[in-house]
């Protein structure tokens, strides 16, 4: 199965929605810190979930340029 930025974004959104505290109206353009109100630890914990779902390791330094869900999807695609 080839993964695209869209399909990975969708997986990320589905994973986020499993957390009832996350707003329901998130899109690939939602900003992870500002729109989801995640603190630094919450971001790292959520990335760990995504890593296991997609069987990929995202080094933490790659997250410095990630603002939106789409940015994260792009980073994951580039690591696969």
């Amino acid at each position: 199965m080839t993964e695209t930025i869209e399909s990975v974004s969708q997986t990320i959104i589905e994973t986020l929605m499993e957390n009832p505290k996350v707003p329901r109206n998130i899109t690939p353009d939602s900003k992870i810190i500002e729109d989801l109100e995640f603190d630094s630890l919450a971001v790292m914990n959520f990335v760990m979930e995504i890593e296991d779902k997609l069987d990929v390791s995202v080094p933490l330094d790659r997250l410095t340029d990630v603002r939106t869900i789409r940015d994260l999807a792009e980073a994951i695609i580039s690591l696969k």
């Binding site: 603190d39 630890l41 790292m44 760990m48 390791s57 080094p59 933490l60 330094d61």
Partner: protein, 401 residues
């Protein structure tokens, strides 16, 4: 918009905390120290259960005298870096004492524990290397990892299988792999299953660093920490730690058998670009290390106290962490409840730590007590009574077994 705009979320969160908390949990002032376990707070004698003073040695007579003598002999500061004018014979003697205590070839002493981990992690891991960090590692380790510019992979807390999985997921990577763990984690006081990590380290041909900040002087027959207790010291490449807990002073160290350790004195920025510890701190630390060496009964008393407190909390129905160590935390559900509980405990005469997310592992607030060898059985029992009373007063539900 100004330079402080970015702190708006913090400002709002702190304003909320201040509105529900009579005393500022991050602004407690100890007006006077009566003993290792009693201080004056808000004008009132208060039991100290949040000071990390695990063996009570911040108040040791031997250390006070050694510090006073050193201050009279050498002055109160070195005014310089270890690599310039800031190395006195005392610094070298302490490094030799620590290396000998750990049966290691060499030791580097840093000005704080924070700088020891920051310095070792940031210097050992280079740009093309991989750092594997436990999810619950201390901020100093995460800060060091960012300074290192290495690739940073975080694995699930205390889960050696998860570490193995994440290492194998990378395939055949060319970089060096350094795994960083802690002996006892500072929030829940939970202990690492170190044998399992040593196994992964051997299988994957990685280097292993352990921070024994909360386990030095407490675990192992001689007090060398969890690596000694679990008999895996041969698998540890670097042990880092602090003077500011069981040793009762301030400072940090790294001990290792690697013969190139002295090179690190010339390239570890948090070691080089700061003033060395003042003579009185070094002398006091040396004196307290002698006490740890010669008085294993302190460790036993501490573990008896911790065990007594842990079991009393469990039978009262509090939700605690999984292990008995010098740190025993009660896990609460929300900030308002935790803040009210902390304030009530203080009013009833005991100081503990209130730890709030994101400094706690799972976004729940913690009430963190540090237990000391210096606490009497009566003080431990008194704290249990205070917890039960506070829980009743602020409505923390207790689970009856």
């Amino acid at each position: 918009m100004d330079i402080f705009t970015k702190f708006k979320t913090l400002e709002t969160a702190f304003a909320h905390l201040s509105s529900i908390s009579e005393h500022n949990p991050f602004g407690t002032t100890i007006e006077k120290m009566i003993s290792a376990t009693i201080g004056i707070i808000n004008g009132k004698e208060t039991l100290l259960f949040g000071t990390n003073n695990y063996l009570g040695l911040s108040q040791s007579d031997a250390a006070r005298h050694a510090a006073a003598d050193a201050a009279m002999q050498y002055g109160v500061g070195t005014t310089g870096s270890r690599i310039a004018n800031g190395t006195y014979s005392l610094h070298q003697e302490l490094e030799q004492d620590l290396a000998k205590f750990f049966n290691r070839r060499s030791c580097m002493v840093f000005s704080t524990g924070y700088q020891a981990t920051l310095g070792m992690v940031s210097t050992l891991a280079g740009k093309d290397d991989y750092l594997f960090l436990d999810a619950d590692c201390h901020a100093s380790i995460y800060d060091g990892s960012r300074m290192s510019q290495a690739q940073i992979i975080r694995f699930r807390h205390n889960d050696a299988d998860d570490l193995r999985k994440r290492m194998r997921r990378l395939g055949d990577i060319p970089g060096i792999k350094l795994v960083v763990v802690e002996g006892v984690y500072s929030m829940f006081g939970d202990v690492i299953p170190l044998k399992e990590f040593a196994q992964v380290k051997r299988e994957e041909n990685a280097y292993l660093m352990i921070d024994e900040a909360h386990s030095f002087g407490i675990f192992g027959e001689h007090g060398r920490g969890i690596a000694e207790r679990d008999q895996v010291e041969a698998d540890i490449d670097f042990t880092v730690g602090t003077f500011s807990k069981s040793l009762g002073t301030v400072g940090g160290y790294c001990v290792s058998d690697h013969p190139q350790m002295d090179l690190l004195r010339l390239c570890t920025r948090p070691y080089m670009f700061t003033a060395s510890l003042p003579p009185e701190v070094i002398a006091a630390t040396k004196a307290n290390l002698e006490i740890i060496k010669n008085h294993p009964e302190l460790m036993h008393k501490l573990m008896d106290n911790a065990s007594r407190f842990y079991h009393a909390l469990q039978s009262a129905g509090f939700l605690t962490g999984p292990d008995i160590s010098s740190v025993i935390s009660v896990i609460l559900e929300d900030l308002v409840q935790a803040s009210r509980f902390w304030n009530r405990v203080l009013e009833l005469g005991a100081y503990i730590n209130l730890s709030l997310p994101p400094a706690t592992p799972d976004s729940r607030p913690l009430l963190r007590a540090s237990i000391a060898a210096a606490h009497t059985t009566e003080q431990i029992d008194k704290l249990v009574q205070i917890y039960i009373q506070a829980a009743q007063d602020v409505g923390v539900p207790l689970k009856k077994n």
